[in-house]
């Protein structure tokens, strides 16, 4: 290959890479990376006045979940208003668990773990590893059975991704 050709190929490769950088930087939240969206949300600070309101709403929703009252609308408001708060997703997971919907509970636990890894830290006051592991195991078994029986739909695919994310995190290693 001639010198001229090598130079042109190199220049094209460099330009393509730079175009890729611009593309990924221009996308909202730093691009479509699976780890980005929630990480971007996590950085959203709640203002002092709003923090009081958030705590009040969370406490009320927690009371409703604990007393088996219908907390659906309260949780919906929390999820849409404070998607970057891990407490919301854990409460939502508990609600789904109590309602017998383990796949939804597992999805919410996965969101909570991405926002706050300490939920899987043994020794942490937040630790929920045993509970999350048990639910993930049961849901994964069902999903793999369903997969063996035919193609999975989009919601099940998302559940499968969340299940494997939790399995990887439960296995330890660097984050």
């Amino acid at each position: 290959m001639g010198t001229h050709t090598v130079d042109r190929i190199t220049e094209v490769m460099a330009v393509l890479c730079i175009a890729g950088v611009v593309w990924f930087m221009a996308l909202p939240g730093g691009g479509p990376g699976a780890g980005t969206t929630l990480a971007a949300l996590r950085s959203e600070e709640i203002q002092e006045g709003d923090l009081q309101r958030f705590r009040g709403t969370l406490q009320e929703a927690r009371r409703m979940v604990d007393s088996n009252a219908d907390a659906k609308s309260a949780l919906e408001a929390l999820r849409s208003g404070y998607p970057g708060r891990h407490e919301v997703w854990v409460l939502s997971a508990r609600y789904h668990e109590a309602a017998g919907s383990e796949p939804s509970a597992m999805l919410d636990y996965a969101r909570a773990v991405r926002l706050e890894p300490a939920y899987l830290d043994k020794g942490s006051s937040l630790y929920l590893g045993g509970r999350i592991e048990a639910i993930t195991g049961r849901v994964l078994t069902l999903l793999l059975e369903a997969k063996a029986g035919g193609a999975l739909g989009a919601p099940e695919q998302e559940q499968l991704k969340a299940a494997y994310f939790l399995k990887r995190r439960l296995a330890g290693g660097c984050e």
Partner: protein, 352 residues
């Protein structure tokens, strides 16, 4: 049967110790499949000196000081301490940053990549192929006339040992004045092998790697450039050590989707390690080899290490490092930025 030469034995011992002790350090307390990971250790070091705010990744790993000190002791003992420097310090620093960028998007340096593979993590395959591809591309450019200048001896003994001494001094300081360096109490930073075992392992590996010149990317480089299998044997020994230790401790788990410290995005795993391979060829060795070279007095390697420490801070602080959920958008942009830099370097440093 002919008895292997002393050099071959040293390479085999080096690979075996990296694989065996790498797997053993995870058994002794380091994060799973991350018994030895230079990029993780650099992120830990950067956190411990406050270059990023993620306390879960802040801890000065004694192994790091062990590698450098081992290489330094060995180089002094065998009269191989040769202070020397090249011509492109800023380029070296930047390549150091991107060595960590690529490794953090893959979630591991080339050594951890092999350790992951040795523990049955099949997501490492994309990384191995990517690393080989990156090295292959880099070598093509060397063959086409790439010239980054020769290193010159006699750059001053102080310059040569400054960075290795600083790494060792940081460890001494952290032990002497507890609390002077940040040290996470949760997450990977809290998962530690006992100090004595970590330091002894680091020293032994440092000595053997200095004597044998073992390097993961160097194995591929020699293979592609000269069909020289000598270093590749070390790679085989590394795998053998890791598989044997993982089998013996019940940690061998062959699979793709539920592996610790991994992400499932094969395309970006490939590209990230291609960046590491390409940058390693330009830098003259993988991240681990840079530590050993610095211990021997290479000022170039010392500058690259400073770049790797800065990279450790950048990837954590800017959200470039991948998580178990996958690579981030910034991580993808940074990998492409690194590849663009490598292509720019080879474009402007080619003899016509």
């Amino acid at each position: 049967m002919r008895w292997p030469s002393r050099d071959t034995l040293l390479i085999l011992a080096s690979g075996l110790s990296l694989g065996g002790l790498g797997a053993a350090l995870a058994v002794w307390g380091n994060p799973a499949n991350s018994g030895i990971c230079i990029s993780c250790f650099m992120e830990n070091l950067a956190g411990s000196i406050g270059l990023h705010q993620n306390l879960r990744m802040a801890y000065l790993r004694p192994e790091l000081a062990g590698f450098v000190a081992g290489a330094l002791i060995s180089a002094l003992a065998f009269r191989e301490m040769r202070p020397r420097a090249g011509s492109y310090p800023v380029l070296g620093f930047t390549l150091g940053v991107f060595l960590i960028v690529g490794s953090s998007v893959f979630m591991g340096c080339p050594i951890k990549m092999m350790l992951r593979f040795g523990a049955g993590d099949m997501t490492a395959v994309a990384g191995i192929l990517g690393l080989a591809a990156g090295v292959w591309v880099g070598i093509r450019y060397y063959r086409a006339g790439l010239d980054l200048g020769a290193t010159r001896p006699g750059s001053g003994a102080l310059q040569g040992i400054l960075v290795p001494s600083l790494v060792v001094l940081l460890l001494v300081l952290s032990l002497w004045v507890p609390g002077v360096l940040k040290s996470g109490t949760t997450g990977p930073a809290a998962q530690r092998a006992p100090l004595a075992l970590a330091l002894a392992s680091g020293l032994l590996i440092g000595v053997l790697a200095q004597r044998s010149r073992f390097c993961v990317t160097g194995s591929f480089t020699n293979l592609f450039m000269a069909r020289d299998w000598s270093l590749a044997r070390g790679l085989g020994a590394l795998m053998l050590g890791a598989v044997a230790l993982n089998l013996a401790t019940g940690r061998l788990n062959v699979g793709l989707l539920d592996q610790p410290g991994s992400n499932p995005d094969h395309l970006w795993n490939f590209l990230a390690m291609a960046l590491v391979g390409f940058a390693s060829v330009l830098a003259g060795g993988c991240p681990f080899r840079q530590l050993i070279l610095a211990g021997e007095g290479s000022v170039d390697a010392s500058v690259i290490i400073l770049g790797m420490v800065a990279g450790g801070g950048i990837v954590q602080q800017w959200g470039i490092a991948s998580t178990s959920a996958g690579p981030t958008g910034y991580g993808k942009a940074a990998v492409l930025g690194g590849l663009a830099l490598c292509f720019a370097v080879v474009r402007f440093h080619r003899r016509s």
